[in-house]
């Protein structure tokens, strides 16, 4: 019990003393997760919208595929990306193994299906709701899509948060393709795993507290936004 309390005390000390190593790890985590989330949104939002509003042969198969990919095991994704970008792999010439770029790619593979599937569900619902009105008004497709995305913006925040949550808490893939190299590819989750195995619980706990704080803060903001939107019947 004393060890645990001591670890907690040390972890708070690390956080409040603005420990340099800690913040380097934190910033890299946010950078990798933020960029992978941004890129996944750039791919996933239009793709999910397309799947929601267009009818074509094989659409159901795509939806099943993306839904299944939502549960991809991170270590498997890490392994596949590793094989692709390792020196002997087809993309070995890029020289990105054990760099944040490889970590971003791995995280994108994990997040994009989440963004696509959830976007597709949300946009399909709103497009059905607006279907008759838009048909009657002869709303052009591009204006309809903008309206769907705009009017579903509060629901879409959930999608973005789900993607961010998956990215920031992920360890299996980034440790394989990033290698957990100090000052280069070390992020919060990989550091927690490493420091725990070394018995250095204070740093692991400090990072755990920060990780939880980020999750709590983003969820809190999101819930506040959704409550406000619900009150105005915007969701």
């Amino acid at each position: 019990m004393n060890i645990l309390l001591e670890a907690f005390a040390k972890s708070f000390e690390l956080v409040f003393s603005l420990n340099e190593d800690l913040f380097e790890i934190l910033l890299l985590s946010l950078k990798v997760s933020g960029i992978s989330l941004l890129l996944s949104c750039l791919i996933g939002l239009p793709l999910g919208t397309f799947l929601a509003i267009k009818s074509f042969w094989g659409k159901d198969a795509f939806l099943v595929l993306f839904n299944t990919m939502m549960g991809l095991p991170p270590v498997v994704v890490g392994l596949i990306v590793y094989l692709l970008v390792s020196r002997s792999g087809p993309f070995g010439w890029l020289g990105i193994l054990y760099t944040p770029t490889a970590m971003i790619i791995a995280q994108m593979i994990l997040i994009t299906p989440i963004i696509v599937s959830l976007t597709s569900q949300i946009i399909e619902e709103i497009s059905q709701e607006y279907k008759s009105l838009f048909a009657s008004l002869l709303v052009p497709s591009h204006k309809a899509i903008i309206a769907y995305l705009f009017d579903a913006r509060y629901s879409m925040l959930t999608v973005v948060l789900a993607g961010f949550g998956r990215a920031i808490s992920e360890v299996g893939a980034v440790v394989i393709v990033g290698g957990n190299i100090d000052h280069l590819t070390r992020v919060m989750t990989t550091t927690i795993a490493l420091e725990t195995s070394k018995g250095n619980l204070s740093l692991a706990l400090a990072l755990g507290i920060i990780l939880l704080s980020i999750a709590l803060t983003t969820n809190f903001i999101l819930i506040r936004l959704k409550i406000s939107a619900k009150r105005r019947m915007y969701v």
């Binding site: 607006y130 009657s136 008004l137 002869l138 309206a147 009017d151 579903a152 915007y234």
Partner: protein
């Protein structure tokens, strides 16, 4: 008192419906219906539930596929130019997840209609002045329907299609909507509305189309219809009997 002010509306009338049949899945909803809707008339489409009234309106608006027959507007088949001069108000209004003003702005943007002043005036006309920032889906039933009508008015339609526009509404909304229907008619619009309210049909309609089981049983002048309906089904319906 409202003054007649005829607008320069695109002539879409007479609307000729010839042998129109519409299937939804395997169900025949409209069965070879034929009728003619005169210029600047207010036509009340009446009949029991499931008779095909709403689908009839939606088909005129181009929302439903025609399986057989045809509809012409001043001898021209329905096209986007014609549809752009029609406005439809649905029985259950679909309002965007935005505030009142943004709902109006959306239609204004889609239809390239200018003017904050026009929007302001229309909202005033439907009794929604000062509601600009109110979330549309928090409005009462009557207010929602009035906003839906306001969006339709923004289009300045030559043909206004109203699917039970006053069903279950409060007396204030009912009176206001009826006044606007008459005003739009005075301005030159052709209006087709479905209703279950016989008193409303008497108050507003110049013509009646009576539907039963996907067929038009009568199309006639409103006075003649209420004075002396030609079919036993229409007689029963006017007398409030249930048609099976």
């Amino acid at each position: 008192m409202y003054k007649s002010n005829k607008k320069n509306l695109m002539k879409l009338t007479p609307i000729e419906v010839i042998d129109l049949s519409v299937l939804l899945g395997k169900d025949l909803i409209l069965d070879k219906v034929s009728c003619s809707i005169k210029n600047n008339s207010i036509t009340a489409v009446i009949g029991p539930n499931g008779a095909g009234k709403s689908i009839f309106l939606q088909t005129i608006n181009g929302l439903t596929n025609i399986d057989n027959g045809k509809i012409t507007f001043n001898k021209i088949y329905n096209n986007d130019e014609i549809r752009n001069k029609q406005a439809m108000v649905f029985q259950t209004p679909t309002l965007l997840r935005r505030n009142v003003k943004s709902n109006m702005d959306f239609v204004s943007n889609v239809k390239n209609k200018n003017g904050e002043i026009v929007i302001k005036n229309i909202l005033k006309r439907v009794g929604l002045e000062g509601y600009d920032d109110k979330p549309a889906r928090l409005l009462s039933g009557g207010e929602k329907q009035r906003l839906s009508l306001a969006r339709a008015l923004l289009i300045e339609p030559s043909v206004l299609l109203l699917d039970e526009p006053t069903a279950n509404l409060d007396p204030f909304s009912l009176k206001l909507i009826e006044e606007i229907i008459l005003e739009e008619s005075n301005k030159g619009a052709t209006i087709i509305l479905t209703t279950h309210d016989m008193a409303q049909a008497k108050r507003l309609a110049s013509d009646i189309i009576f539907f039963n089981k996907g067929k038009i049983l009568e199309q006639t002048d409103a006075n003649a219809f209420f004075r002396k309906p030609l079919t036993k089904e229409a007689k029963k319906y006017i007398n409030g009997e249930i048609l099976l």
